[in-house]
């Protein structure tokens, strides 16, 4: 044993034990896992929340020096971004100007025209200020061009010079333009964005104060105009700034101003994510979600797919959180942008392991205990999981040695994430899976319990040990009845589109996502100053956060009277004082009552100290970004503001008036003032309200139009179908007229039991033993072979044909008394039940008349043994009680009986005519060319001429009933009830000695059927008999491609070669009797068993290709196409599997009793039987294409057998009638 092998075994064993542990103690393990997740995520609390708001740091002005680049760790309180010179020093000159005293001769425009006009002289003053040969020009931040996209702002913002921003920029800093401007307000407002503005507007930018507090308005109450002149300095010269401050203060003294001037604030800006960078991010996230969606979609065969998908996602997400938490616990602070690398981390960690685990556990045998299933599933995938993990770790290690810091960090996170993901998979996900599987088992148990209770307990058979007890099958009444109407109609396209929208809830999801994004943008861009308000609140409450700042900073709007500078002025001024110099009053708002003639007062409060705080936090970045200067990860230093107070006389105001100013002044009434102030907000609110109402109305209308009254009441549950689940009839749509009309083949008096076809011909055999041959193209009845085999009637039309003993009386169904009355003399000599069986019990009441649970495709094989147990019981009872002379006939008139009871049906007259055949009925039938091979219950093999209806040959070598026949080329294989397999050869002795061949019928892949002319002498010889082919009765026999495959009750499948009848393989792998086999020309072999398992085999090597569990109960029929495998089961479910991967694609719920009727017409067209109808499905997508009704009335008998002919017609067994349905759309394609 190599090291590898040993390692593998050890790993497998460890996983097995671990699986047992997890499945045994689910709750403690989940608690433990949750606790460890929380513990590992705890360090995340210490991490700063990601955000892009600016951070501040305050230093004193006096001892300021430009911070050095070096890393000085000793300065503890200094943030790490405070290094190197700032982008710019901002010096703001805050101007408050008012015309005072106010008198009635002034018009509203005068409030701001002359105060704004003074900005030009101030600007001149500032520009010309020189201190010891240093002028502003040499110190200020020189800017170049605006960004190319900002052409419209070119005349408004400075270019190629000092970055000096003031309201004067509206007029290009030229007094003459200002004076000639007829409407100042219009000039100011024409650049305002119309809609919702997301960043600082031009007005904010130029005025430097929030728009509302500028006072540039016709309805200003305070009549004080406030604006700033903002100077950006590239280098800090303390003396120049001090001299400028002194100069301005001297020129325009602000008497009662006590603003603090000793602090400068450094504002650091973080990186911001613009839309341009958001798009790739969003793309990666969308790819990530698509990945998660496609991955979790593969979870199948579990109780709750959503639950497991959620658990998978939780596993991945919490492993990521754990990795971040652990890394930060060990001192590794993430410097990468978490949002950006997150999708890649998820992709690296992946969901594959989780899916592999689920699939492996689910595919373990269902009958095992949950613990063992989990353990087996884990251990079978342990090696691949470990291998994958090792590979990933190695790849990441290689990545670590690239020595690129970013990649190294990524790799470190990925490693920790991988390990924690593995931990979570092993503990969390496995446990959740075990809980889920247990739930599924419980649900199964609940479903099955009444079914098993309804069945008689299985007994060991002492009398006939060869016959196996019947498998426990759910009796039909416990199967949930499917409303048959849901597939009745073919929907028009527009409705299907609507249903698609409804099914995916596309509209709702789009609206939801849109709303979320919108809210996100709103919060992010912060139009209402919410963030600054919150920041103010927080800073007010936490003294630690703003060390060195005055504690009342910026809270003035919230607490108007709380600032220390105005504590003395809490009381409102008793009366207006004429002299502005004496003004030391509080705020204008405190003044009560309208005082139109009160003179404006200029006050300085602490809120004026840092006027920039009241602006959007995006003010500075946007200002600099216009010149292609980024503030991301850099900082600016804001110098203390220089207050300037301007008092203008009314005289001056009148002088500076523009001629038009007086004209438009009194136009608007004063009551709109309030509205004007918050108009934007109201607009937004109204718009939102309107949109909401509209949306609700629209949705209501949609609901009314699209939804039925009984919405949600009578919902058909068909959750198993994954795609194409179209609940049609709930919506009250009437089915369109079907374009396919079925052809009814009438003639049989009783239910049809076997069907055989050969492309051109179709042979059917009913319970009465009558064989009819039909032309598959036209539906004409060609030949009728009655049960006795001697009478023959050839006919051209079948409708009027009645053969001799075929009365229309329904009482003929079972050993009727009428018959006995007609032939009273024969009653004793030839009783209805033959004398041979006189000592045997009457079996008729035992016959199960339910055909839903019987696989019709194996009608013949099933009959021999399936009822063995019942028969046994009857025998026992019979021994106790003497036989009745006339056993009561079964009450059901339309009952269908198995072949065992058929002998009682045989009418006496036939018995007279053919005494050798009185007790046998046809159990199996095959049709090749014009030869019908019929296997009888007596063990006789007969060959009939299909066209002429004559018996050509008869072989009576075997005595056990022939349960299944296969007719291939010139060989016939017969499986008998006793488990033996007989190989016959059909020899034709032609007078001419040659075989004629008909043309290839339809499909070229089939071997051409030989045509036997009536002159030929046909002999059928037993070439070989395999006595003990199987230990138990053979249930299925299929032959194709030179192979004969048998399936038996003894759980094995055997493959024989047709030529020499040599057994090639015995395939073992099923845990129950074989019930269905499929083999075709391409050597595909599939088998289904009573355990609900489906195995795919390689016929050449005898190895098992795949093994899936799909059905609860027997697999009743199997069909393979080139890409998928279709199986039907006793649970009336048709499952479609991917042939190469063994993954279930989807399933279709059939109606009760129609589970096994399915056929594949072409690669993509599936046909299934229903209650009086057949349905066509698109095989690739599981969509219902069309439903064809067979009878006139909607309620018909269930279609139990379905046979696909080569000419794209299907024949279905429809009670005693056959129905021939042509599929025109397929015919086109075949042509």
């Amino acid at each position: 044993m190599t090291v590898r092998e040993r390692l593998r075994q050890n790993i497998s064993a460890a996983f097995y034990r671990h699986g047992l542990l997890c499945a045994s103690y689910p709750v403690p393990i989940i608690l433990f896992t949750s606790a460890s997740i929380l513990t590992c995520c705890y360090p995340l609390l210490k991490l700063p929340l990601p955000g892009t708001g600016p951070v501040e740091f305050t230093t004193g002005v006096r001892d300021y020096s430009v911070p050095s680049h070096g890393t000085q760790g000793d300065l503890g309180e200094r943030p790490d971004w405070y290094r190197g010179p700032p982008v710019a020093y901002i010096q703001q000159v805050l101007v408050k100007a008012a015309v005072s005293p106010w008198d009635s001769s002034l018009v509203p425009v005068d409030v701001f025209r002359s105060p704004l006009g003074r900005v030009f002289s101030l600007l001149e003053e500032i520009r010309d200020h020189v201190y010891t040969d240093r002028s502003l020009e040499s110190l200020c931040l020189q800017v170049t061009d605006l960004l190319p996209g900002l052409r419209r702002m070119q005349s408004l913002l400075p270019e190629h010079g000092c970055l000096l921003v003031s309201p004067g920029n509206y007029w290009q800093n030229r007094r003459d333009m200002f004076d000639s401007d007829p409407d100042i307000l219009k000039t100011v407002h024409q650049h305002e964005p119309k809609g919702l503005h997301t960043s600082a507007t031009l007005k904010d930018l130029l005025f430097g104060v929030p728009g509302k507090s500028t006072g540039v308005s016709l309805y200003s109450k305070k009549r004080v105009v406030t604006y700033t002149i903002t100077i950006a300095l590239s280098s800090y010269d303390a003396r120049f700034v001090a001299s400028l401050r002194a100069r301005l203060k001297q020129l325009h003294p602000s008497t009662n101003c006590s603003l603090r001037e000793d602090h400068m604030v450094h504002v650091h800006f973080k990186e911001e994510i613009g839309i341009a960078e958001l798009i790739p991010l969003v793309t990666t996230y969308i790819i990530l979600f698509a990945y998660i969606y496609f991955s979790t979609r593969k979870i199948d065969m579990v109780k709750s797919k959503w639950g497991l998908a959620l658990a998978a996602v939780v596993t991945v997400l919490s492993s990521l959180l754990m990795s971040v938490g652990l890394c930060s616990l060990f001192g590794l602070t993430p410097t990468l942008n978490g949002g950006e690398i997150f999708p890649y981390l998820v992709v690296v960690i992946g969901l594959e392991n989780v899916l592999v685990l689920t699939k492996s556990v689910v595919s373990t045998p269902v009958d095992l205990e949950v613990k063992l299933r989990i353990a087996q599933g884990l251990s079978s995938e342990s090696w691949s999981i470990m291998k994958n993990m090792a590979t990933e770790l190695v790849i990441i290690l290689i990545g670590y040695f690239t020595l690129v810091p970013a990649i190294q960090e990524f790799c470190l996170f990925a490693v920790v994430g991988l390990v924690s993901d593995f931990f979570l998979q092993m503990f969390f996900f496995t446990t959740v899976l075990s809980i889920d599987i247990r739930r599924m088992e419980l649900a199964d148990l609940n479903r099955r319990l009444p079914a098993e209770a309804g069945m008689p307990p299985p007994k060991p058979g002492p009398l006939r040990p060869r016959e196996a007890p019947p498998p426990s099958r759910p009796s039909p009444h416990t199967i949930t009845l499917q409303a048959p109407a849901f597939r009745n109609l073919r929907l028009p396209k527009r409705l299907r589109v609507v249903y698609f929208l409804a099914r995916t809830r596309l509209a709702q999801r789009i609206i939801m996502v849109g709303t979320v994004i919108w809210i996100g943008i709103l919060v992010y861009t912060d139009p209402a100053g919410l963030r600054t308000y919150l920041a103010a609140q927080v800073s007010e409450q936490s003294p630690l956060g703003e060390a060195g700042l005055p504690p009342h900073l910026g809270v003035a709007p919230v607490f108007p009277g709380g600032d220390p500078t105005s504590t003395l002025n809490v009381l409102p001024a008793p009366e207006p004082t004429p002299l502005p110099e004496n003004q030391s009053q509080g705020h204008g708002e405190a003044r009560s009552g309208p005082a139109p003639l009160t003179s404006p007062q200029i006050t300085w409060g602490s809120e004026d100290e840092e006027v920039w705080r009241r602006l959007s936090f995006r003010y500075w970045p946007s200002l600099f970004s216009y010149y292609n200067i980024t503030l991301a990860k850099r900082y600016i230093s804001i110098l203390p503001v220089i207050p300037v107070t301007l008092h203008l006389s009314p005289q001056e105001a009148i002088e500076t008036r523009h001629p038009q100013d007086t004209q438009h002044a009194p136009r608007t009434s004063a009551k709109t003032t309030e509205l004007q102030a918050d108009l934007t907000l109201y607009k937004v609110a109204a718009l939102g309200l309107f949109a909401g109402v509209l949306l609700v109305l629209l949705l209501f209308c949609l609901y009314r139009v699209l939804c039925p009254r009984n919405y949600g009441q009578n919902g058909v549950q068909h959750g198993r179908r994954r795609r194409g689940d179209l609940p049609c009839d709930e919506y009250g749509y009437s089915p369109p007229v079907s374009e396919i009309s079925p052809l009814l083949l009438r003639g049989h008096s009783m239910d049809i039991e076997c069907l055989a076809n050969d492309g051109m011909l179709l042979a059917s055999c009913c319970l009465a033993g009558q064989i009819r041959v039909w032309d598959a193209q036209t539906g004409d009845c060609l030949t009728v072979i009655p049960n006795n085999g001697l009478r023959r009637s050839s006919s051209s039309g079948c409708w009027e044909h009645r053969d001799g003993w075929d009365p229309s009386s329904p009482a003929r169904n079972a050993s009727t008394p009428i018959m006995d009355n007609e032939h009273p003399l024969r009653r004793r000599t030839t009783p209805v039940r033959p004398a041979l069986f006189g000592d045997q019990p009457d079996l008729t009441p035992l016959i199960d008349t339910n055909f839903g649970e019987v696989p019709p495709s194996q009608m013949m094989p099933g009959c021999g043994f399936d009822f063995g147990e019942l028969v046994e019981r009857a025998y026992k009872e019979h021994e106790a009680s003497p036989p009745l002379p006339f056993p009561p006939s079964p009450p059901a008139a339309r009952q269908r009986r198995r072949s065992l009871g058929d002998q009682s049906v045989a009418p006496p007259e036939q018995v007279l005519l053919a005494p050798w055949d009185w007790d046998s009925s046809v159990w199996s039938m095959e049709l090749r060319g014009n030869l019908i091979a019929a296997g009888r219950s007596s063990g006789k093999l007969e060959l009939w001429d299909a066209v002429e209806g004559s018996l050509r040959c008869c072989n009576e070598d075997g005595s056990s009933g022939i349960t299944a026949l296969a007719f291939l080329n010139n060989r016939i294989v017969a499986a008998r009830l006793n488990g033996s397999l007989d190989f016959f050869t059909v020899d034709i002795h032609k007078p001419l000695g040659l075989l004629q061949y008909r043309g290839p019928p339809g499909r070229a892949s089939l071997p051409p059927s030989p045509c036997y002319s009536s002159e030929d002498v046909i002999s059928c010889q037993l070439t070989r008999s395999v006595q003990c082919a199987h230990q138990k009765p053979i249930t299925v026999l299929r032959a194709a491609a030179g192979r004969v495959v048998t399936g038996s009750q003894d759980h094995t499948v055997r493959v024989y070669r047709l030529e020499d009848s040599c057994c090639l393989f015995t395939l073992q792998g099923h845990a129950g009797g074989i019930t269905a086999i499929y083999i075709d020309q391409t050597m595909v072999l599939a088998s289904g068993g009573q355990d609900g398992a489906i195995c795919l085999w390689d016929v050449l090597t005898g190895s098992r290709v795949s093994h899936v569990y799909g059905h609860r109960g027997d697999v009743t029929s199997l069909v393979c196409t080139t890409s998928c495998v279709l199986s039907s089961g006793l649970d009336d479910l048709i499952c479609i599997w991917d042939r190469s991967t063994g993954i279930k694609l989807y399933s279709i719920q059939q109606e009760v009793g129609c589970g096994a009727s399915l056929g594949v017409i072409s690669e993509s067209l599936l046909v299934t039987g229903g209650q009086g109808c057949v349905s066509f499905w698109d095989l690739n997508y599981g969509d219902l294409l069309q439903t064809v009704y067979l009878g006139q009335s909607g309620e018909g008998q269930p279609v139990r057998q379905l046979l696909v002919l080569d000419n794209a017609a299907i024949v279905c067994d429809f009670g005693s009638e056959l129905s021939l349905v042509y599929v025109p759309s397929v015919l086109e394609k075949l042509d």
């Binding site: 990666t284 496609f294 690239t402 080139t1122 072409s1162």
Partner: protein, 228 residues
């Protein structure tokens, strides 16, 4: 997003047509649909990845977001779309001719993973600060080969990737020589040396998508062959 929607749409289209599958079975129509989808995917990826490459000198919402999305020359996205359509159609074709169908993980989830890794490679080339260009190129080359190993593993895929990467680099080189455009910081003969790696990864990704799309056709074609 685009991919899933497109796939969803295709699936629905087929499902809606129902019995009229013959239209889809038509080889040309199918080819056109696939080509169109690949083209759309290629254009979308080109736009997004170009956005990634744009240096972040504007931090704020610039007034011209739209123009920054289309910041490259107008002909770049259509070229990428056409190239991706060609590659995506060529891959299944080569597979068919060589007779070695691609077996490895043919699922949409794997394709999504591949696309995500491709975007990640682009992201790394654009955002991660490497010490020098050799390191950058080597890292990207290793990542690209890793991408191939994880999601493709076919010789034809590798050969095709290398060939297309070389051809595309040559074409870019010619364009640069003719002065159609220039790189901001060329490091190797006027071009960026990591360009072939990106091309290679892109070829692998588009080939993966193309193969997955071809799976839809495969079913129909097989059916047709069977019937013929």
């Amino acid at each position: 997003s685009e991919l899933t929607l497109a796939a969803e749409w295709l699936g629905n289209g087929v499902a809606l047509r129902g019995p009229y599958i013959s239209m889809i079975t038509n080889h040309t129509t199918n080819l056109l649909i696939r080509g169109g989808m690949l083209f759309v995917v290629g254009v979308f990826l080109a736009l997004v990845l170009n956005l990634l490459q744009v240096q972040r000198n504007v931090t704020l919402f610039p007034p011209d977001v739209i123009s920054s999305v289309f910041s490259s020359a107008w002909w770049v996205p259509p070229c990428c779309g056409t190239a991706s359509a060609l590659i995506g159609l060529l891959y299944p074709c080569i597979d068919r001719h060589l007779g070695e169908p691609h077996k490895l993980k043919r699922e949409w989830s794997s394709v999504m993973r591949c696309v995500a890794v491709f975007v990640g490679i682009n992201h790394a080339s654009a955002k991660v600060d490497f010490a020098n260009n050799v390191q950058l190129s080597l890292t990207l080359a290793a990542l690209s080969v890793g991408l191939w190993w994880t999601f493709d593993r076919s010789r034809s895929g590798f050969g095709m990737g290398v060939a297309v990467a070389l051809l595309a680099t040559l074409a870019t080189q010619l364009l640069v020589y003719n002065g159609v455009f220039q790189y901001t910081s060329p490091d190797f003969l006027y071009i960026r040396s990591w360009l072939p790696c990106i091309f290679f990864a892109g070829v692998i990704t588009m080939g993966n998508i193309g193969r997955q799309l071809a799976l839809y056709e495969c079913k129909f074609v097989q059916e047709k062959i069977h019937q013929d």
